[in-house]
């Protein structure tokens, strides 16, 4: 499969863009920075398309074998530990690469318009290219350690981009929060890797799969522990319970960043990681069920918070968490290809919704509060049209993309026996809530009359509208490939688990129910928000505790603050600060300094500062030496003793 194109080109092209814009960006003319920033992901996308050919049987024979590229020099080679720097392209990483570079390129184009007047224009694009570099490394990784490099790298890029407007304290804080919360997840990933090394002696995904396959005795026990550690890593990166708290705050970053990193690509890395390690999870039913529970709980939990958010980006942020929960739910019922399918369609419609929200914010001059919008459909017709597509897609209406993927997940959950039914019910309720809060956003922002007449919104430039239209088309057609064909395509990577008891008839009924609840959600939103309705406020006053609970996001941030952050701060201040730093470290430093000063105070007495006394001592010393050397002491002593004995004799 050797051609002109190599896998390492895919990460390297954005990296070159990062270097050029990162080092020279400020001195380069703007058009040049733009060209570099756009060419890098476009070229990477081109390379992905080129290397994808064998998988589709275009130009060459159809092949389902993974394409492996390994650096000839071992990366780490110490005793029994041997780790290569290797890239693997298979169906799974190919889908991810297409999303990352394709959607990534569209968002780069959009950013040209969105960030046009920003001072850090080149810096912004260098970070964005850096993100693409690490994300492609993560996706292409052939073993867990290479994946970890990309994993940490995207975390870094995310941190840099959330805190892009670092002059704003809230943005800088949000960046730190994201980074720290992700570290907790990374801890799980690291422990998982150590356990993998200890038990399998390798981190290469394919070798682990082979070893697991050879010995059917590998079930439960250590495999469960490894899988749960990896799951902890995934919950950090993919913003699942209990580590989801960083994602809503990450909305402090520029909106295209929210679209690319915090909706379409980076946050899906956890789902990808689980799918990549699916063999491990398949060998541990317990870990799998935990994945499903985490996913379902997160989906429902985040959706309820999303109901009452007033910031347009935060609604979308909670919606992202909720949709990621669906993907985890899919993985948890071993329907990995359904999860990846939802990842794909979600990348389209969520990127679309975020970019449309960015267009609204751009047009409103920075206003993000839904309560101050309204009636925008006349002013922003293109944005309105594409948002409508996005809302219909995420709510799961036929024939939009979200319908197919969400349906596949719910269907797979339903077939998992009695527990699966519970998951299915949770999924359906979430679908209802999703539909409701998305139409709520739609009504509040675009319909009715403007609630801020002093703002005169304007439609965004074509560099922003273009990507919106393309993403809207993808959000419509993205699901038409169908779960059957998509699952078949992915089967060599993630396997197929034959669901029992399924039938086209059942699937049709379930789809009907899903669309039914989506319609119900729309209807409710219509009743609540179509005209100036008193229903929402009446409901809020009728259920004050419930409303407050949701509006304050279940007080999770506060609970974490009291139970984790405060005690940690206290331990840091009292134990680390006073005992260790001031007491032990400071004490040792003072002790050393004290000894030096004391000995100096004693020794300085020797130094009179009187030149002549020094000279006198010198002369005395010289005289003493001379006396010692020149006087024949043995003779003197002998004569003295003679004298002594002579005296004694008499």
């Amino acid at each position: 499969m050797n051609g002109y194109f190599h896998l390492w080109l895919i990460p390297l092209l954005p990296f070159a863009g990062f270097l050029i814009n990162g080092i020279l960006g400020r001195r380069l003319p703007k058009w040049f920075a733009t060209t570099v920033a756009l060419l890098a992901p476009l070229a990477a996308f081109g390379v992905v398309l080129a290397v994808a050919q064998p998988f589709f049987g275009i130009g060459k024979a159809l092949s389902s074998q993974p394409w492996v590229e390994t650096c000839p020099q071992a990366w780490i080679n110490a005793a029994a530990l041997h780790i290569d720097f290797s890239f693997v392209l298979d169906q799974l990483s190919l889908v991810m690469l297409l999303v990352v570079t394709g959607v990534g390129f569209l968002i780069h184009v959009y950013s040209v318009g969105y960030m046009h007047d920003d001072e850090g224009y080149a810096r912004y694009f260098s970070y964005l290219n850096l993100f693409l570099f690490f994300m492609t490394v993560l996706v292409l990784a052939g073993n867990a350690l290479v994946m970890f490099v990309g994993w940490e790298g995207v975390g870094l890029a995310s941190y840099l981009l959330i805190g892009f407007w670092y002059q704003k304290k809230s943005a800088a804080d949000a960046g730190k929060k994201a980074f720290i919360v992700n570290r907790i997840g990374d801890f799980g990933f690291l422990i998982g890797m150590f356990l993998l090394l200890a038990n399998f002696g390798t981190l290469t995904f394919s070798e682990i799969a082979t070893k697991l396959g050879q010995d059917p005795g590998w079930t439960g026990g250590v495999v469960t522990v490894i899988a749960l550690c990896l799951l902890l890593g995934a919950t950090g990166k993919s913003a699942q319970l209990p580590l989801y708290i960083w994602l809503p705050d990450a909305m402090e970053g520029p909106t295209p960043v929210s679209a690319l990193i915090h909706a379409a690509t980076m946050v899906t890395a956890g789902v990808y990681m689980i799918a990549r390690n699916h063999v491990l999870f398949d060998h541990s039913p317990f870990a799998l069920s935990i994945v499903a529970i985490v996913g379902a709980a997160t989906a429902l939990f985040a959706a309820t918070i999303g109901l009452v958010q007033n910031d347009i980006k935060r609604v979308l942020a909670y919606s992202t968490i909720s949709q990621l929960g669906y993907m985890f739910l899919a993985c948890g019922v071993a329907a990995y290809s359904a999860g990846i399918f939802h990842l794909l369609t979600h990348a389209f419609f969520k990127a679309l919704l975020f970019l449309a929200a960015g267009s609204v914010i751009h047009g409103m001059g920075g206003e993000q509060d839904l309560r101050k919008m309204g009636g925008l459909w006349k002013k922003l017709p293109v944005t309105f049209a594409v948002t409508t597509v996005g809302v219909l897609a995420i709510a799961g209406f036929f024939p939009f993309a979200g319908f197919f993927s969400k349906d596949a997940i719910l269907y797979a959950a339903f077939l998992q026996g009695p527990n699966g039914r519970i998951l299915w019910v949770v999924g359906v309720v979430t679908a209802l809530l999703t539909s409701f809060y998305m139409f709520r956003l739609w009504y509040l922002a675009f319909l009715g009359t403007s609630r801020s007449p002093e703002i005169h919104p304007h439609e965004s430039p074509w560099s922003m509208r273009g990507p919106l239209v393309i993403l809207a088309l993808l959000s419509i057609c993205g699901g038409w490939i169908g779960m059957e064909r998509f699952g078949g395509f992915l089967a060599p990577s993630v396997g197929v688990r034959a669901a029992e008891g399924g039938s086209p008839h059942l699937e049709l009924i379930l789809s009907g129910i899903a669309v039914g609840v989506a319609l119900l959600g729309w209807l409710l939103a219509h009743l609540f928000y179509r005209e100036k309705s008193t229903v929402p406020s009446t409901l809020a006053t009728a259920l004050p505790s419930g409303y407050k609970l949701l509006a304050n996001k279940y007080y999770v941030d506060q609970i974490y603050g009291v139970t984790i952050v405060k005690p940690l701060f206290a331990v840091s201040r009292i134990f680390l600060g006073w005992v260790v730093d001031v007491g032990i470290l400071g004490g040792i430093a003072w002790l050393l300094g004290g000894i030096a000063m004391l000995s100096g105070a004693i020794l300085q007495r020797w130094q009179s500062g009187n030149l002549r006394s020094y000279a006198a001592w010198l002369a005395l010393g010289a005289t003493a030496l001379l006396l010692f050397l020149l006087v024949p002491w043995s003779t003197v002593l002998a004569s003295l003793s003679v004298l002594h004995f002579g005296l004694a004799g008499h």
Partner: protein, 107 residues
């Protein structure tokens, strides 16, 4: 007279003169307070040593001693140049040359 002058001056006389010069130097160094006098005393000590070098060189017919004298003179010249420069700098800064009062390094 003739016999007196035809006889060589004994070695010990040279050495005594050398020791006397050196001792004078030491004494001056220890007693005098003026930095320049102290400095001159050092020269005196060096020359006392030089004399004994030359004496022994003559006595043992070894040229090494005389060569050493040149070295000492050269070092003395260099030392005089540096030392005088320091003395001038000190005088400019402190307006005194009394060695007892130049003890800034002491706490």
């Amino acid at each position: 007279m003739n016999s007196l002058f035809s006889q060589e001056v004994p070695l010990s006389w040279y050495l005594l003169l050398s020791a006397a010069l050196f001792s004078l130097g030491v004494l001056g160094f220890l007693i005098k307070r003026n930095l320049i006098t102290v400095f001159m005393s050092i020269e005196l000590m060096l020359n006392g040593v030089n004399l004994s070098f030359v004496t022994f060189a003559h006595q043992w017919h070894a040229v090494k001693g005389q060569i050493f004298v040149f070295f000492v003179m050269m070092v003395a010249a260099a030392e005089a140049a540096v030392g005088l420069a320091i003395i001038i700098a000190i005088f400019r800064a402190r307006a005194t040359l009394a060695v007892d009062r130049i003890d800034l390094m002491k706490l």
